[in-house]
């Protein structure tokens, strides 16, 4: 049962790929319907298809394989989580999608990125520039350094609208006010002329969200949007992103190292490790039936409120992997508690598991593997 997606794509017959007129993708019902359609017609048009993406950084110590042969899809209006520890390649993946990998020293060396039917890798720089901000919005991790300290926030929000939508300055300012109100900043019109340092951390991140959504993009890339914020603010910001994406039908790729956040926000999750996707599937499936020891480690390491006090926090033993000389073995094998010889020789493929859409990269949990059947 290890059919790959390519093998699934047998027929070329036209399939219903659009929702009926009266059903919006923003509703629960609409999303379920879209899922069914997508599952039934695997080659229907998706918002984003990434195939064999590899991004590398050329340093004097060697070539860092930050993103190594990564493939995934994203549907219109869907929220996908990219979860993993620091350095696993999730941020670089997002930057690669908009071709903002800093060069030097980084470069996308291979792969296909099809966004809304457009082959991103074949676009000229100018065409790519027109995509950014207009169809793809980006939220960065640290709102303090990501906002220009010498420009008023109203200007920074209106900029995208003026450039991509060609609206007048006044219309852009109105839109900025509208967006600021939407993201929950009181007295928006008065605060248009204020500078970033006059806002608190949580408010600054709301401003960033407003900037990212200025042109009503189809995709929102949120790179650890709450990591730099207080815990109490985190929930507010995440809820804001969720409600806005639902309201506007914006697809979201949420990058985080925090599984709890992914659980609350995403429809599907990709778990990344050492530049590879090691498990992917619907969020419930991954949380209830994780199929990869790394995922177990991540889940097990979450402190739980119902544990006895005094139990030691569980960690995943070992050191983060070396991305410069990845060998042929499973990249998690040095740290895995269930490792067998096979793992140290050959890296497993991302293969299907019981639930539809659930795939994992582990010899042990494959059908016939030494952990199959057990948790």
């Amino acid at each position: 049962m290890t059919l790959t997606d390519d093998q699934n794509r047998a027929s070329e017959e036209p399939v219903v790929t659009e929702l009926p007129e009266n059903v919006s993708i923003a509703t629960e019902e609409g999303r379920k319907l879209a899922e069914q359609l997508a599952d039934a017609a695997p080659h229907a048009k998706r918002l984003l298809e990434v195939r064999n993406l590899s991004t590398q950084f050329f340093t004097k110590d060697g070539t860092v394989h930050a993103v190594d042969d990564v493939s995934f899809e994203l549907d219109y209006g869907e929220t996908l989580g990219l979860v993993g520890e620091s350095g696993c390649g999730k941020s670089v993946t997002a930057l690669s999608l908009v071709r903002l990998v800093p060069y030097p020293p980084g470069r996308i060396v291979s792969g296909e990125i099809i966004f809304d039917g457009i082959d991103v890798m074949k676009l000229s720089n100018e065409e790519m520039r027109l995509l950014r901000g207009k169809k793809i919005g980006f939220i960065f991790q640290d709102p303090l350094t990501s906002l220009n300290p010498t420009l008023p926030i109203g200007f920074q929000i209106a900029e995208s609208a003026r450039i991509h939508l060609g609206v007048s300055r006044k219309a852009a300012a109105d839109r900025a006010v509208e967006l600021l109100s939407k993201v929950g900043i009181p007295r928006a019109r008065e605060r248009l002329g204020d500078y970033p340092h006059q806002f608190s951390g949580g408010m600054r991140q709301r401003v960033m969200i407003a900037i990212a959504l200025a042109c009503d993009p189809m995709l929102l890339l949120a790179d650890e949007p709450t990591t730099a914020l207080d815990v109490t603010i985190q929930a507010q910001i995440l809820e804001l992103i969720r409600s806005l994406s639902e309201e506007f039908g914006t697809a979201v790729i949420l990058i985080t190292h925090d599984l709890g956040i992914a659980a609350g926000m995403c429809h599907r999750v990709n778990v990344m490790y050492a530049g590879r996707i090691v498990e992917t599937g619907k969020v419930d499936d991954i949380f209830e039936h994780p199929q990869m020891p790394y995922a177990w480690g991540l889940l097990g390491s979450l402190p739980r409120i119902d544990e006895e006090r005094g139990t030691r926090l569980r960690t995943i033993e070992g050191m983060p992997p070396d991305l410069i000389n990845p060998g042929p073995e499973c990249r998690f094998s040095p740290r895995c508690a269930y490792v067998h010889d096979k793992c140290r020789e050959v890296e497993p493929e991302l293969s299907s598991r019981a639930e539809p859409g659930h795939r994992a990269r582990c010899w042990a949990t494959e059908p016939g593997g030494w952990l199959n059947g057990s948790q």
């Binding site: 033993e317 070992g318 050191m319 040095p334 740290r335 508690a337």
Partner: protein, 313 residues
């Protein structure tokens, strides 16, 4: 379902552990400009110390007879065995340049010594005691800082030239004091800044708790950590001192004649520019080399000691 602790093959460490200084040194070596600067600095130092023995002629020897053979004009480069020519009084330019190097290097290092002697204690006291003492000291430094350097140096030189003090060491003593007095302020500010940030760290509290005396804490624990920026500041401050000395020489209120400060050589040369441009060009090159070499070396030291500032891979 817990993850059993697994045996780990610890990945071998990729680099040898090194000290701060060794790291900095290896970074410095890789900076070619800094190396060139360093070599020139060393050359100047050698000239400064051994100049009188290395020079082909005494710097004040006037070879009038040679001039007479060539129309009583300064000799050009290569004439009569003078590699760089002579000045209007027949004095060998190369030898005079050596003397100028001696003067410049002496001024440079003595002034920096003065700067350290005054600036470091002032900065350290201000940082350590804080409060009122800090305020007073900083007010004083602010006022001294507001007085334009060159004006003050010129004033001092003019006022005291004729005194015994001003004549000492061919006028060099006066120059040391004048340039040093305006120069210590920057060092004091630097030391104060460094110590203020270090003072807040926990090891200071720990040392105090053990009963280490204030003086020892400052001298043994705090100051050594600030040595890096201090070295950089000293190196980058030298071009300013060399420039000030040359300017004084040019204005005629610096080192006493017949000593050959580079500034004096330029002044002399400016009178003969039409016929003997070499009298201006060679001292100009000498000054340029001195200024550039210390600047490159200082920049290299700064990058080596704090690579975060540079950010280059």
């Amino acid at each position: 379902m817990a993850t059993r602790t697994a045996t780990i093959d610890a990945a071998p460490l990729r680099t040898r552990p090194t000290s701060l200084w060794r790291d900095a040194f290896s970074r410095l070596i890789r900076n070619r400009l800094a190396i060139v600067g360093g070599i020139i600095v060393l050359t100047l130092l050698v000239l400064a110390v051994f100049g009188p023995y290395l020079a082909p002629y005494p710097y004040d020897q006037q070879n009038i007879d040679q001039l007479a053979r060539h129309g009583n004009l300064p000799l050009g480069p290569g004439v009569e065995g003078h590699l760089l020519g002579t000045d209007a009084l027949g004095r060998d330019l190369l030898s005079r340049l050596f003397d100028g190097a001696r003067i410049s290097m002496t001024v440079a290092f003595v002034v920096q010594a003065v700067v350290l002697l005054i600036g470091v204690p002032v900065g350290a006291l201000a940082a350590w005691f804080g409060g009122r003492i800090d305020q007073y000291l900083m007010r004083i430094t602010d006022v001294v800082y507001a007085f334009p350097d060159l004006l003050f140096i010129i004033l001092l030189s003019v006022a005291f030239r004729e005194t015994f003090f001003g004549q000492a060491l061919d006028g060099l003593l006066l120059i040391f004091v004048a340039i040093g007095i305006v120069g210590w302020v920057g060092m004091a500010r630097l030391v104060r800044g460094q110590l203020l940030s270090l003072k807040e760290q926990e090891f200071v509290e720990a040392a105090r708790a053990i009963g280490v005396s204030d003086f020892k804490i400052v001298t043994r624990h705090l100051l050594p950590n600030a040595i890096g920026p201090m070295i950089v500041a000293v190196t980058l401050g030298i071009p300013g001192a060399i420039l000030a000395e040359a300017t004084l020489g040019f204005l005629g209120i610096g080192v006493q004649r017949p000593r050959a400060s580079w500034g004096v050589l330029i002044n002399d040369g400016s009178l003969w520019m039409r016929v003997s441009p070499h009298m201006v060009i060679f001292p100009a090159i000498a000054i340029a080399l001195a200024l550039l070499s210390f600047t490159f070396l200082g920049d290299g030291l700064r990058d080596a000691l704090d690579p975060k500032l540079k950010g280059k891979q």
